[in-house]
């Protein structure tokens, strides 16, 4: 398992590899969740995850543009310096449910964005290289904007979300 505490990122190339992986894995996770929710007939949450994947894709593109002209190192999946089991913005798979509602989905995304922000903030604080610290601080600020956007989504959500709808095909049926 990846280390619990943030590890030091030394070079800009190493940092950019982490940032790109973070964004790409996040997009893949949201796509996977959207597919999964479609399969399980939860179209509203599927649409929301698809939207998050789209925003993630746009952000990934922007991050990649910062790495133009750089040669990036190959880092094996288990050698990334995350303090989470996967990339910080790839939320834990076990925290979703086929009956989850939009509020829960946004809360899940909010948790992911906060984890991404915290990762960048930790790099901005701990890296020995000024250029890495500077770039990480910029990315942390961007993630903070995403956090604020998701918080505003939660505030503006009008649907009655606190109760899950009745499950017409419940998991434990009498045998």
């Amino acid at each position: 398992m990846n280390a619990k505490d943030p590890q030091v990122i030394d070079t800009l190339a190493e940092f950019m590899t982490h940032a790109i992986a973070l964004e790409n894995e996040s997009v893949e996770r949201y796509e996977e969740l959207a597919d999964s929710m479609e399969v399980h007939n939860n179209p509203e949450v599927a649409k929301l995850f698809r939207k998050l994947a789209h925003f993630g894709e746009l952000h990934a593109r922007e991050i990649k543009s910062h790495a133009d002209g750089m040669t990036l190192p190959q880092i094996l999946p288990w050698d990334f310096k995350w303090s989470t089991p996967e990339g910080p913005e790839s939320g834990p798979m076990q925290e979703v449910h086929y009956m989850m509602n939009r509020r829960q989905a946004i809360e899940y995304a909010l948790h992911n964005e906060e984890a991404g922000r915290d990762f960048y903030a930790a790099v901005a604080e701990n890296s020995p290289r000024a250029e890495v610290r500077e770039m990480a601080a910029e990315f942390a600020a961007e993630e903070n904007e995403h956090v604020d956007i998701l918080k505003s989504w939660l505030l503006n959500l009008v649907d009655p979300e606190s109760v899950r709808p009745e499950d017409l095909d419940p998991p434990n049926i009498p045998e």
Partner: protein, 275 residues
Amino acid sequence: MSTDTPLKPKFYKTEVKPVWCPGCGHFAVLSAVTKALAYLALPRKDVAMVSGIGCSSRLPAYVSVYGFHGVHGRALAVASGLKAARPELTVLVAGGDGDGFSIGGNHFLHACRRNMDMTYIVMDNEVYGMTKGQASPTTAPDWAESKLTPHGPGVPSFNPAAIALASGASFIARGFTGDPNGLAKLLVAAIEHPGFSFVQGLSPCTTYRPEQKEWKNIVRPFELEPTADPVEAAHRIQADDGMSTGLLYQSRIPVWQPENLVSTQVDQLERGFQV
């Protein structure tokens, strides 16, 4: 921007959307398998994945290599036949705890003993999920959530690592789907191991065993380095609660691979069936 990364895990995923419940641990096994294959850069035509029946046995549909979705409990038998006929293939076998340790239990024993060069991944969620939540061989005796066993199965659960060791397996590891990257690393070691490699993947069932979400707070890495001593391994496995992860045991013993000396042509086979 350039990297020297040759293959992405996505390269090994099919377009088929998994039917697993959102939150299922099996998604992480899919992720780990594709990451391991990408790391090893195995050509897709040189890999085959065989499975039995159950939620986990859907895996070959989602991995872009040759696949065979077999019959219940018979994944290892099919895979052994495949490996005997096509020794050059990398053979992966996938299934669940019910498929592998109940109806397929006998095949599990002999696959361990035979030590053919293949990797068996068991996605263990201690329940039959596809049939709506019945106790499996790894279910705790007091799990009383199924109407079929209202007071719990009442019998001790099966210890897969102990059985694998006693049956002669040469590679025994345990991973956790809450740590897909750690599981991927274990799978790389398992695939590279010459012989039968058994990987038990603790894979929570979000629907029938929601309490397994707590596994993330219980699972921890093995504190000791892997051993090649079966007596020491037996001691460690018996002393463990089944929630420690990592490579538990690895030894080098001869790999069994039958020699395919006689080659039969199709027309010869057909002549044999003529009446």
